[in-house]
Amino acid sequence: MAQYQIEHVTFTFPEQTVPALSDISLTIAEGEFLLLCGATGSGKTTFLRQLKREVWPEGHRSGEIVYEGQPIAALSPVRAAAEIGMVFQHPDAQIVMGNVQQELAFALENLNLPPAVIQRRMAEMVSFLGMESWLRQSVHELSGGQKQLLNLASVLMMRPKVLLLDEPTAQLDPIAAKEFVQVLQRLNQELSLTIIIAEHRLEELFQLATTVCVFAQGTICDQGMPREVIERIASRGEEALLPLLPSVSRMALQAGAPGAGLPLTVREGKAWLAALADQQRAGTGDERTRGPELPGAAGKSISGDRVGREAERVREAANERQQQTQDSRDEQGGFGQEGSVRAGSRLGERAAAGIGADRAAVLLACRSIFFQYEKEGPFLLHGCSFEVQAGELLAVMGGNGAGKSTLLRLLTGLLKPQRGNVELASRPLAKWNLQERMEQLGYLAQNPLLYFNRDTVKELLDDRLERLGLSAQEQKRRLHELQGLLGLEPLLHAHPHDLSGGQQQKVALALVLLADPQVLLLDEPTKGLDPYQKHRLAELLERWRRGGRTIVMVSHDVEFAARYATRCALLFDGQMIGPEATGDFFRQNYFYTTAIQRAAGGRWPELITEEDVGRWRQGLGLGERSM
């Protein structure tokens, strides 16, 4: 029996003329794993919320939503609450109670079930999800991944038949996200729970989903089995939808594969590349010289060979980013042409002078830092040392609770290390004038809401400028520049809380950049962004960095770091591994690397991002033959 029958549903938000959803019809079968994808604002969340009466958004709705043969509006309240469970995006905001046990009991207490029933279900749930060790913990002691698992468990306690999930892994690190998705898979396969999930992080979900719906402008623009949908998107080559594909598929597309028979997973990608290598060997008819160990070593041993030379070119391509950085340092100045005024700043000069003498001038240095939050607590950082070079984008990665955010706050001087010190332009932070220091180091926290204490974006920006103590002319210039860079114009008169997550982050970034910091320190800037927004953020950072400015970001986002960082480092056990040039860094990693590197690394260690694959493919000149 169909779980949901959705017929001609159109939904319009209040005071809007364009409907957020228009004429959507869909049948969802029992036990289905339905994946809703599409850009932010394409209507997938709005659609998801139509499926549960308690979370219906305000607005005008027409059409019919039938749940198990009954219009959803006619369901009894208890049935509507219990049988349709929903997990939301923010792990923290959904939690009501203080500790795990209370939170698990919460839903069943609402249904007025006797304690014995609650106890039994809790026992089952806790052992099913392996939550025994943190059952008695306070909620605030849990990691993000544990919190989200708790939210899921709390909903599952009601034994729902349908599970709706609204971007549940957007705020999680990749490992926690994977674990969460695996639990969904178990629920779907072992309990035949119907799962409907809206998500941006699709890599794993594409393999689990039975059906995929692609949303665009409030309609379902494509629908079908995951492989079919991917192949259709690929063969149509729609720019707007390509970022939704798994990176292995995109890699194959870049390498010139046709839409049909695209690899989806790392395993398929590896097989596909092997086939490509075979094909290439057959094409040139020289097996011995063009073995699987094609580029790296081959580049040296058979340097006269054409393929060897191409491999050399691949390596250069992969390192191109670093060279770009170095070139761009010459054009010291602002973002844009009008930045020359600021080039006169003290630090700018010093950094520029440093660069002139030595290409890798150290701008910010961490000298054997020891840090703990409490006297009895563990040392989060012990003996952590590394250097940040002027003009680079350094990505610091590391697991949950490795101390990445703490490190960033130490670098900004918001926390003080127990031992060791942080040096900005060879001068310890403590010796800087506080205000000057805070203007040189721009710190962007994870949560943009922390920055908002005025009622409009414009007031926020004005307040920030006032604090910087600049001349009226300079204030105007900076504001103008940033508006150009970030496209803030349409947001100026909005209330910051009314903006979308990506816009809020942009406003917070603007507040930070107004001080024109030499070093920008970003805490998980890609968290909760969809692939398009990530791309836009990267472009923006790149443009800002082009003036010789420096960015340090801590992130879980391996793919983002691999594509855009110039150097990467790994924070582990309170110490820093690296930093190394991005290419070298990922080449040496085995797990902690991009899906493409995992697929291609065995044969072609230079291939890390899809762009690398594209360049490599062009280099080989194979594109025409296989198409």
Binding site: A81, G85, M97, E109, N110, E439
Partner: protein, 301 residues
């Protein structure tokens, strides 16, 4: 949220209603029974209970303040009142009597007893247990209190985060006038409130989607009356009732005014006292047994 108890198998594991009743009795006794023998016994007992339940640290940390408070009362009482017949000396024309000194001492011990008893009370009757006891009387208020209790540490942590970000944005830096700093602190609150409201909206949706507000709520936590609880109830009941009846009949009372007399040690009082000790010593015996048991287990290994 809940701290770990040192001896979870002892008095702590008793049914919360019994433990609550015990402490109510203790507070009442400390305030009403002014007989020196009773008072000193109580002081020793509550110290032992606090020691077992709150740990040495929980007991010793606040102790200096409590003792100071008791000392203030001890000294202040004779200076304030001049009741009593036995005048010892004059302090600035004020007669200082033996009775007022004795009364002050009793008051000081009584206060110290109540304060120390609270250490044990807080360790045994945790917020969760208190709510359990009152959830049946007022389920809604109990729920609201539980939720609200989570917010105190939560808001504190958020405040810290906001202040850090504000520092990086140029707040709280310069030694400005006080009112400017106050204004910036208001901005902190502005951010805190709007952020928290934003989250509260989402929390509200999540609560509704899990059936909150559908009607009567149940309460998941149950403490069952075990055999041991029933035995303890029987014992505490018998000794407690005996003590109350005796106290109502005037046993264990002691008055220093108008003239200090030696306290009453009649046979009846001694019997009453034994019953009283039997009552108050219950948790100490339970915990001491627990300590011994673990010592035995360890020495047998």
């Amino acid at each position: 949220m809940e701290k770990k108890n040192n001896w979870p198998g002892g008095f702590y594991s008793l049914h919360p209603a019994l433990a609550f009743g015990y402490f109510v009795f203790l507070f009442a006794a400390a305030m009403m029974l002014k007989h020196p023998a009773y008072l000193l016994t109580l002081l020793l007992v509550v110290t032992a209970v606090a020691w077992f339940q709150g740990g040495a640290r929980g007991l010793i940390r606040p102790l200096p303040y409590y003792v100071l408070l008791a000392l203030v009362i001890l000294i202040a009482n004779p200076l304030i009142t001049s009741r009593g017949r036995t005048i010892l000396f004059y302090f600035r024309d004020l007669p200082v009597t033996l009775e007022s000194i004795a009364y002050g001492a009793m008051l000081a011990v009584s206060l110290l007893t109540v304060l120390i008893a609270f250490i044990g009370y807080n360790a045994v009757i945790t917020p969760g247990r208190f709510l359990y006891l009152f959830a049946r009387v007022a389920p809604r208020s109990a729920f609201v209190i539980t939720v609200a209790m989570r917010f105190v540490p939560l808001l504190k942590r958020r405040m810290k985060e906001i202040i850090q970000v504000q520092q990086s944005q140029g707040y709280f830096h310069y030694k400005k006038k006080k009112w400017l700093q106050a204004k910036e602190a208001m901005d902190t609150l502005h951010t805190l409130v709007s952020w928290s409201l934003e989250e509260a909206l989402q929390t509200g949706i999540s609560m509704r989607s899990r059936g909150y507000g559908l009607g009567k709520r149940s309460y998941a936590v149950v403490y069952r009356m075990e055999r041991r609880d029933k035995l303890a109830l029987w014992w505490l009941g018998v000794t407690g009732v005996a003590t109350i009846v005796g106290a109502a009949a005037g046993l264990g009372r002691y008055s220093v005014y108008p003239k200090l007399l030696p306290p009453d040690f009649s046979n009846l009082t001694v019997m009453h006292y034994v019953g009283f000790v039997g009552f108050v010593l219950t948790p100490v015996v339970m915990d001491a047994r627990e300590v011994l048991r673990w010592r035995n287990i360890r020495s047998n290994m």
